[in-house]
């Protein structure tokens, strides 16, 4: 009976994993397709589509743009989020509930709506659309994330540690710089990295708010619209590899040591 249940459980897990990995496997497999159509039968392996990807300057440009936007907007979001979390966790402020609600509100609004609002505002105010506007949009969606993660980690214990620093003569800025920020670094970094992956993969805001300089998802979107092609598979596989590396770094540096304890 128990063995049967375990068998069922195993079967279920295998089935769901297969479902989860099916598109990735197909994507990667047919990125090595020799001919022009990424559908069965497989006639590879060939690296010609990867060569095409790396030779395509528009793609490599978009990749650089994406990295830049992701890193800068996430850094800003992490900084603003940390400061706000520090202020709200450490000081008794009037209407702090309302402030928290405001800061986390963008979490429950669709990206499409956030993007549309910014699009309308920027075009009414005559702000030209560029990577800067994309970065602004990404900071809007990532700030609540960084804030919430950092805020949730600011417990009473950390407060005591900060008191200890003050007790030993540290000024406020020293407390924040030497004690609070390093102590919360895992949370801040987690927020930052999560933001990087979100921004890196965000499409609709970037689509609405960019113009001639675009980020990678927008460029991929254009690629997809411009013809069926294993090159799309190759790009997707490269992006996957990159995100995977990022997640692996996050796991190894931030979480593994914590788990050991």
């Amino acid at each position: 009976m128990r063995r049967l249940a375990d068998g069922l459980a195993l079967g279920y897990v295998v089935a769901v994993y297969a479902f989860i990995y099916l598109p990735v496997a197909v994507l990667v497999l047919f990125s090595f397709q020799e001919s022009r159509l990424p559908i069965p039968p497989f006639d590879g392996p060939s690296l010609r589509w990867y060569a095409a990807v790396f030779a395509d300057r528009r793609l490599t440009d978009a990749l650089a743009n994406s990295l830049l936007v992701a890193l800068l907007s996430s850094a800003l979001a992490a900084l603003l989020g940390f400061l706000a979390a520090y202020g709200l966790a450490r000081y008794r402020l009037p209407a702090s509930g309302l402030q928290r609600a405001l800061l986390t509100a963008p979490l429950s609004v669709s990206y499409l709506i956030i993007g549309l609002g910014l699009l309308i505002m920027f075009s009414r105010l005559g702000v030209p659309r560029s990577l800067l506007t994309v970065g602004i949009g990404h900071t809007v969606i990532n700030l609540p994330l960084c804030f919430a993660i950092t805020y949730s980690q600011m417990g009473a214990h950390q407060e005591n540690v900060e008191r200890a620093a003050r007790d030993l003569g540290a000024r406020e800025w020293q407390v924040m710089l030497l004690v609070t920020a390093p102590m919360l670094l895992p949370a801040i970094l987690a927020g930052f990295l999560l933001s990087v992956t979100f921004s890196w993969d965000e499409f609709i805001i970037a689509f609405l708010l960019s113009r001639f300089d675009v980020t990678l998802p927008v460029e991929i979107w254009s690629l997809l619209r411009s013809g069926l092609n294993p090159r799309n598979n190759a790009v997707g596989s490269v992006v996957f590899l990159f995100s995977f590396a990022l997640v692996l770094v996050m796991e190894l540096l931030l979480f593994r040591r914590g788990r050991r304890r």
């Binding site: 214990h157 005591n160 540690v161 008191r163 200890a164 620093a165 003050r166 007790d167 030993l168 003569g169 540290a170 000024r171 020293q174 030497l178 004690v179 390093p182 102590m183 670094l185 304890r261």
Partner: protein, 367 residues
């Protein structure tokens, strides 16, 4: 470095709750003082007021004769050892201990030497390069102590520093704390709810309850001659029997279930209460067996209700005839085997008897 601490009429409220009510006390320079009381009764609040983490609603705090009431923690000659140690998790032990010196702009070489010396003082020699999470609870406690002492405070505040340790380690640390205090000579103000710990380390115990100071004095005095029913009850076990008092010549006499008995007047903590009602208190270990010799206070006969072996003695609950079956607790000799329902005759050395002013009910904070 050492200094005396004076707390004058300090009150503090958290919203509706009065955490401190008109607290006045003074602790001499170089003393090891312990604030003792049940949890939630204001002792940690008082420590925060002395340390500069809380600014009292009323009253003043003076250290070395200087008014520090409005000063923040950083500018007081005090440092604190926190209950959860509050070590900087991201710094090595050396950096933790040297942090205060760094804030005081002590050159690196000097502060590293001082940190190492401090670690040696607390028995963690050569561990400056370790991270806090590599340490055991007791070791962390020592680092916290070294860190707080490194800046040579005049007063060291310790907020239940041993609370998280297991019993055996706690007793060991008590001895070390005491020894370190002797060596550095700094005034220590230590908070605990463990009366055994308090008696083991304190030069001076301050018993607190419901935001008030209930008693203050050397451990022996506070234990043997408590000044309030609360401190008698909190410092170990005690039996209480209501009595009436009558002035009799130089002394007083107590009238009660055990008949009339003269006592020297100094027995009564508060002479103003004389003439009215009072309470006779005595510790279980002071109850003697057998017929009452002359001059002793005869408690009469009683029936053993329950007896338990507790190592150094046997703890017995005995229903006294004189109290119409009311029970007292007595510690009987370890060697004496008594069965429940045994009849015993008991008496008390009047020198051990404590007279307390009658109080209305127990404390509201419980024990």
């Amino acid at each position: 470095m050492t200094a005396d601490v004076e707390v004058l009429g300090v009150s503090h409220r958290f919203g509706e709750v009065a955490a401190l009510r008109d607290v006045t006390l003074s602790i001499g320079a170089g003393r090891f003082a312990v604030l003792l009381g049940p949890s939630g009764c204001g002792k940690t609040t008082l420590l925060s007021v002395i340390g500069g983490f809380l600014f009292p609603s009323a009253g003043r705090v003076r250290i070395a004769g200087r008014d520090v009431t409005g000063l923040p923690a950083a500018r007081r000659p005090t440092t604190t050892v926190f209950q959860d140690y509050a070590l900087f998790p991201h710094m090595r032990l050396g950096a933790n201990v040297a942090f205060g010196l760094r804030m005081r702009r002590v050159p690196r070489a000097e502060r590293e030497a001082r940190a190492e010396a401090m670690l040696r003082l607390v028995g963690l020699e050569g561990m400056a390069a370790k991270m806090p999470h590599e340490l055991s609870g007791g070791q962390r406690q020592r680092v916290a102590l070294a860190r707080a002492l490194a800046v040579e405070p005049e007063v060291l505040l310790l907020d239940e520093p041993l609370g998280a340790l297991d019993l055996k380690l706690r007793r060991q640390m008590q001895d070390e704390l005491k020894a370190i205090q002797r060596r550095v000579g700094t005034t220590f103000v230590h908070v605990t709810h463990d009366q055994e710990e308090a008696m083991a380390i304190a030069d001076e115990i301050v018993v607190m309850n419901a935001g008030r100071v209930m008693d203050q004095g050397p451990p022996e005095r506070v234990y043997l001659r408590p000044r309030s029913r609360f401190s008698a009850a909190f410092m170990g076990e005690a039996n209480f029997v209501p009595v009436r008092l009558r002035r009799e010549g130089d002394g007083i006499a107590i009238l009660g279930p055990f008949g009339t008995h003269p006592l020297p007047a100094e027995r009564l903590a508060d002479p103003a209460a004389t003439g009215g009602r009072a309470e006779l208190a005595f510790r279980p270990e002071h109850v003697n067996l057998g017929d009452a010799p002359p001059g002793t206070l005869d408690l009469g006969e009683g029936t053993v209700r329950d007896i338990a072996f507790s190592g150094s003695h046997r703890r017995a609950r005995i229903a006294l005839d004189a109290l119409d079956g009311g029970e007292i607790v007595a510690y009987l000799p370890q060697a004496m085997e008594v069965s429940a329902t045994a009849r015993l005759r008991l008496h008390l050395d009047p020198a051990r008897a404590i007279l307390l002013p009658a109080e209305d009910g127990e404390s509201r904070c419980g024990g």
